[in-house]
């Protein structure tokens, strides 16, 4: 049979597709998100310039914070931010993964539904409500029932000494509660993305529920759970209000996790409103700049990890 090859229609004959103005319009509107992100970094950089010029890289390592002497350094705040966030992750990670494992299991739909709603409500409670609860309930409780007994029984351990109601530990506890929903919701999605076949194979080989979970499911979801952990770390680094209310606001490197400390976000929250002096305000903005650059990097790494995992999972399944 002869194949009739049609001549390619010439440009003059073919109907010209009109330019998609709607596409242009929505592209411009959608670009607001990246534009705002870039603007935030640029404006903070510009506002922090006086401090950057004055202190250079020494700002990041100096431990002084003295508005009277006009001498500012970020190290205690950076230390406090990293320490509270890592401690909070250490507390929240086992619990978060356990919740994710329970939520990702098939069956028991009602129980799971209730747990899922509970975790989502945990994420919805405003940070200031966690703050007032931590200030009046959680911090006094952890002081009386965790900090004092532990430091009494282990008096020779320096980093567990000197209990105080408002402390790095209290801040980490409330942070752990606040990042738990992020951790468990994303881990659940990642665990669910593990191909069913892998689990069925393990069960067919005679593995028990725990052996399947621990040796098959969790290892294959490892990268995604790691991504969820980093994402939760990003949330913890930037959390302001609840931490400010219980950390004790002491601008020094704490000798013990039970001592008061400070975080980048808390220093800004407490001092920026009263920073009339130009260099003081610029130094506070530079703290904000450090915070936002760190969270940007952490978030991008985490998102790439989570995305790569779920895309792979989709290819396999």
């Amino acid at each position: 049979m002869a194949v009739r090859v049609e001549a390619r229609p010439s440009a003059a004959v073919a109907p010209r597709r009109p330019p998609d103005r709607f596409r242009t319009f929505t592209t411009v509107v959608g670009s607001a998100a990246p534009a705002i992100l870039v603007l935030i970094v640029l404006i903070l950089l510009q506002q922090a310039m006086p401090a950057i010029q004055q202190f250079g890289f020494g700002f990041l390592t100096s431990t002084t914070w003295n508005p009277v002497a006009q001498d500012f350094g970020a190290f205690p705040a950076i230390f406090g931010t990293v320490a509270t966030s890592l401690l909070a992750l250490a507390i929240a990670l086992p619990v978060g993964v356990a919740v994710a494992v329970v939520l990702a299991e098939p069956g028991h739909r009602t129980i799971r539904g209730v747990i899922g709603i509970g975790i989502e409500l945990l994420a919805a409670i405003p940070s200031v409500v966690y703050g007032i609860w931590a200030l009046y309930v959680l911090a006094p409780w952890s002081y009386a029932h965790i900090e004092v007994p532990v430091s009494d029984r282990l008096p020779f351990v320096g980093w567990l000494s000197g209990p105080s109601v408002r402390s790095l530990f209290a801040a980490s506890l409330i942070l752990a509660v606040m990042i738990l929903p992020t951790l468990s919701a994303i881990s659940r999605d990642v665990i669910k993305a593990v191909p069913r076949g892998m689990k069925e194979n393990a069960v067919a080989l005679g593995a028990t529920w725990w052996e399947t979970t621990w040796r098959v499911i969790l290892p294959s979801a490892r990268a995604g759970i790691f991504g969820a952990t980093i994402l939760a770390l990003g949330r913890a680094l930037g959390e302001t209000i609840a931490v400010t209310m219980v950390i004790g606001n002491s601008y020094a490197i704490p000798r013990s996790i039970f001592n008061p400390a400070y975080t980048l976000a808390s220093v800004i929250a407490n001092e920026f409103g009263e920073a009339t002096d130009r260099l003081h305000a610029a130094s506070l903005v530079e703290l904000g700049l450090v915070l936002i650059v760190v969270t940007l990097v952490v978030n991008i790494v985490a998102l790439l990890l989570v995305h790569s995992v779920s895309r792979e999972a989709r290819l396999v399944a």
Partner: protein, 284 residues
């Protein structure tokens, strides 16, 4: 045989541990809700609390009306800015999502969701407060809008993406232009999901304190003027909780209760709307 029994026993044990940890995770939720209700109800069970404004310590009949009004006003203005922009941005990601630029928009939105809200406060201070030399409710609204925008974008993308291509194709086959197909055909079909996203962003903005500290600042009197400092419920909770006065602390708990009721209420409503979306998408 004995070994298998031991393996099953271990498995059961770990299952129990996992459930125990899950219960442990939900304990803080229960405690937060319980304490907020127990300490917030006595001050909040009083009409004065909703119809009066702040009064000096010791003067009875103080209320948080100014904070409730301020929150409604600022979140309202922020919604007017963030929701239309966010919906259009979400439509862009859902309809033209394979473009390379769309990947960047998506990444930027996700990163913006995780950006520390205190940094957004500093940013808005720099361009909406410092040049004008005074704090204002508008500045607070801009900060809240920046927080809401990425949430609306991503939830709209999710909802519009659920709509099957058949609907778009039938619209195009009838000769409708792209914008009509997107805005008059696909978007209404995705409306419940879009509304869910908008509601969630409103809930998130209602509860934020940090971006308002240096933008709307707060006040102690009734005001409907967004060009001047405006009080908000989260600011009230924060300021009162840190005072040494018992009566103010109690009012702080009362404001926290009002805030929790608003935020959780919006969340439950949005959950109900979302269920309708899933049912609707199933029909299409």
């Amino acid at each position: 045989m004995n070994r298998n029994r031991r393996r099953n026993f271990i498995s059961r044990g770990w299952l129990l541990v996992m459930y125990a940890l899950t219960v442990l995770a939900l304990i803080p939720l229960g405690l937060v809700l319980w304490f907020t209700a127990a300490r917030g109800l006595p001050p909040a069970l009083n009409v004065d609390f909703f119809t009066n404004v702040a009064r000096p310590v010791g003067v009875p009949g103080a209320g948080v009306e100014h904070a409730i009004v301020g929150t409604l006003m600022m979140v309202g203005i922020a919604s007017l800015m963030a929701i239309p922009l966010g919906v259009l941005g979400g439509v862009y990601l859902a309809e033209y999502g394979i473009a390379r630029w769309a990947g960047w928009v998506r990444l930027a939105s996700d990163v913006l969701v995780g950006t520390p809200s205190i940094a957004i406060g500093l940013f808005v201070y720099a361009f909406a407060v410092a040049p004008l030399h005074h704090y204002s409710g508008f500045a607070g609204s801009i900060a809240l809008a920046i927080l809401m925008l990425p949430i609306v974008i991503r939830t709209t993308e999710g909802a519009v993406g659920l709509i099957p291509n058949g609907l778009r194709e039938s619209g195009l086959a009838l000769g409708l232009s792209r914008w009509r197909v997107s805005l008059q055909l696909v978007l209404p079909a995705a409306a419940p999901g879009v509304i869910t996203g908008a509601l969630l962003s409103v809930a998130r903005a209602s509860g934020e304190t940090a971006p308002l500290l240096f933008t709307s600042l707060g006040n102690t009197f009734f005001s409907l003027d967004p060009t001047h400092p405006v009080q908000a419920l989260p600011l009230t909770v924060y300021q009162y909780a840190l005072t040494p006065y018992k009566s103010l602390q109690n009012q702080g708990w009362g404001a926290a209760l009002v805030l929790v009721v608003i935020v959780l209420g919006i969340n439950l409503i949005s959950r109900w709307v979302l269920r309708r979306q899933i049912a609707l998408a199933g029909q299409l």
